[in-house]
Symmetry: C2
Subunit: 141 residues, 2 copies
C-alpha cells in the first residue's frame, strides 16, 4: 500500500539517524540538488552535498539519539507525499552532562515536515524541515 511505503520511508530517516548510518541516509535522500534540509534552529540547507555533510557532522557529534514519532500524517498526491509528525527525542550530545548515567542529555520536542518524491518505485526524501517546540501552546494572548 502506498501510504505504508511512505511511512516506511519516513521511518527510515529516523532509523538512519539513530544508527548513525550515513550510507542509509544518503540512499534515502533524493539524488538531485533540489533537496532541502532544516535541522531544528538551523538555517535552510540546499543541495545534496551540503545536506549530507550536515548529517555527517550531526552524527559525529551525537553519542546517542532515539526518536519516538507521534501524530504521523501522510498526504499523498501523485508522485509527491507530504508527511508531518512530531518527534519526541532522547539524546546525548558529546557524551557527558552534569549527571552521570548513560550519557543521555536532553528530551526534546520537535515538529517535522518531510516531503518525499517517488523515483523508480522508491520514495526518496526531498525535504526535511524540523523545528523546535519552544512555546508549548503558542504565545500568551
Amino acid at each position: 500500500m502506498t501510504v505504508a511505503a511512505v511511512e516506511a520511508a519516513n521511518a527510515e530517516l529516523y532509523n538512519a539517524f539513530e544508527t548513525a548510518d550515513l550510507d542509509r541516509m544518503a540512499a534515502l535522500w533524493d539524488d538531485d540538488d533540489g533537496v532541502v534540509c532544516v535541522h531544528p534552529g538551523w538555517p535552510m540547507l540546499r543541495g545534496r552535498s551540503q545536506v549530507l555533510r550536515s548529517w555527517a557532522v550531526i552524527m559525529a557529534n551525537t553519542s546517542y539519539i532515539q526518536f519516538f514519532l507521534t501524530d504521523v500524517s501522510v498526504e499523498l498526491l501523485g508522485e509527491l507525499a507530504v508527511v508531518t509528525c512530531e518527534e519526541s527525542i532522547l539524546t546525548g550530545v558529546g557524551g557527558g552532562g552534569d549527571d552521570a548515567g548513560p550519557g543521555l542529555g536532553d528530551a526534546a520536542r520537535v515538529v517535522a515536515t518531510n516531503v518525499f518524491r517517488l523515483r523508480d518505485g522508491e520514495w526518496r526524501l526531498r525535504l526535511h524541515h524540523g523545528s523546535p517546540v519552544i512555546s508549548p501552546s503558542g504565545p500568551a494572548s
Copy 2:
C-alpha cells in the same frame, strides 16, 4: 505561468499577515481539515479552524510586521507545489519596547516551507511551517 502563480500565492500569505487581513488569510488556506500550520517555535496545529484561530490571535497581538522574502524556491509536481524561502522579519509586538520609535521590536530570521495545492485553478495553502534560525551556522563541531 504556473511558477509565477505559485509565487503569487506564496506572497499572498505574507501580504495577508502584514495587512492583518484574516479574510484574505482564510481565502488562501485550503478548505479542508488536512491543513497544517507551524508558527516559529510552536507545536503543530492541524485543521482549518485551529489554524485560522491561531492567525487571529497572532494578528491581534502584532502591532506591526513586515516580511522580506529571500531565497524563494518553487518545486512543482502536478497539483502540488512546495515553496521554500527565508523570511527576514521586522516586527513590533504589543507596541512598545525599551526604545522609542515606531514600535518596532525585533528583527528575526525564519525559514519556511509552504505547500500549496491546485484547487479549481487556484493555489491554496495546505501547509505552512516556519522555524526560527537560532544558530546561524549550525552547532559548533
